[in-house]
Symmetry: C2
Subunit: 241 residues, 2 copies
DNA sequence: GTCAATAATAAGTCATACTTTTTATTGACT
DNA sequence: AGTCAATAAAAAGTATGACTTATTATTGAC
């Protein structure tokens, strides 16, 4: 049973409101949600052109975009099929946001948590050995923002997210940059799934956990950084139940 | 100094030799290789249409595909720019294969190794707790194939790759399926970078290491599986140095 | 019953004209 | 001189219609 979608505004939310992106968005959402099933054949151009009230040009460019993300495959004489989920590029920011928009099924939440547990602790460990002085300063700043006692709910989430993204960046490995949207979606998903109003005690504990990550990175201690991040991610997973 | 590209045939190698895919391929390679620099403006349609000898339709669909992968961004009145590498979807199979085709810079090899080290041990740990009987059988089969004393070079690589992909699949988490191409590219990269003819002793050691992974997964021992996979990946990284 | 010619279908391509968005320029007005 | 709004220009975006190619199913000869 999917949780309700969160009101969070994802970075990926494109202001590009062209006809093409409207069609991409709607079809992408239909596919990810299962309204257009895996392996199924899309309606022919004629029907889709009529459904969306666009030209063949727009429709084809939209299908090209979805094909590029692994969601569709066109074959002559057959038509355009929805590819099996195993072929989707789940790390694609759009695909991730579509998953977020349909609400988070517990199963999906679990899978997201497992990815965070694989990636973020390693990112923290790498950051500990490779962070630049400037990156460390950025991390300290984010930790400082979280530590503000009368911080609002939204600002806390932003600071939390900012810190995690800063860790990923400080790993100085471009692959960890590519998972920024995954971190964003996963973190927001877990915070959304947990109680909307966290107790002051829990907030304080969270701040301390995050501070431990930054301290370990400051001390250039990869193992401590990894452990500290594992604790944070585990807390997030537990909170989301 | 990039290593030479390997002769390996990647799964992603599309037989789709349409005009569009030719343009996508060529431009994608130019961008990834840096021949078309990050942040730079692409030539106007007129010039690209002439360069590739295609229609505007084909050119636009190619640009849409590259935009979908995060490589390009179009803005009215400005033109189409190559986005900074931080925005590329490095997990996209095509983007990965383009990286492979230009040869592996030591830096890129290091980053790939770090990703493997983050992902594969966790996949092995998850597989240990979640693998189905059928998946276990598949793993045993791959290990058996590697163990053949008079196996050829190519068949050994195939079995090696097959086993790693089977572990990722047995994690029963769709995100780990999405990194199949990453595993493939990284593994081939490391085998390519290491000595082309491995000694019999090293091959035997490799077989034993892989067997340990399968045994741990069979025994439903996540920690042992994680450790065994870490050893394998570390060996690959060391060999590539 | 096999196999090759062929018909049918949907994707792919081309050419052209037009619309919208965004930025730079121009020129009036304070 | 400096501000600001009207306007021009450039490039992306959209629309339309006709045509080509690839692939599969059908047909018919052997």
């Amino acid at each position: 049973m999917p949780q309700r979608p969160s009101p969070h505004q994802y970075q990926t939310a494109r202001p590009a409101r062209s006809h093409t992106s409207r069609v991409v968005d709607d079809l992408g959402l239909k596919i990810v949600s299962g309204a257009q099933q895996q392996g199924s054949l899309l309606p022919g151009d004629g029907e889709l052109i009529e459904r969306y009230g666009v030209s063949r040009t727009v429709l084809r460019e939209a299908l090209k975009t979805l094909s590029a993300k692994g969601l569709l495959q066109a074959k002559a004489r057959i038509g355009t099929r929805v590819r099996p989920r195993a072929d989707w590029n789940l790390f694609d920011p759009d695909v991730l946001v579509w998953h977020a928009r349909i609400g988070f099924a517990p199963e999906f939440l679990k899978h997201l948590g497992e990815m965070r547990m694989a990636l973020e602790p390693e990112a923290a460990a790498l950051a500990a050995s490779r962070r630049t002085p400037g990156q460390l300063q950025g991390l300290e700043d984010w930790a400082g923002r979280m530590d503000n006692p009368d911080i609002g709910q939204q600002d806390f989430v932003d600071a939390d997210l900012g810190l995690h993204l800063a860790v990923a960046e400080a790993a100085n490995n471009p692959f960890f940059l590519s998972i920024s949207t995954l971190i964003e979606v996963a973190l927001v998903a877990m915070l959304t799934a947990s109680s909307p109003v966290e107790s002051a005690a829990r907030l304080k504990a969270s701040v301390a956990q995050h501070r431990a990550i930054v301290d370990a990175i400051a001390a250039r201690d990869p193992d401590a950084a990894r452990k500290a991040m594992q604790a944070v991610v585990q807390t997030g997973i537990d909170g989301a139940r």
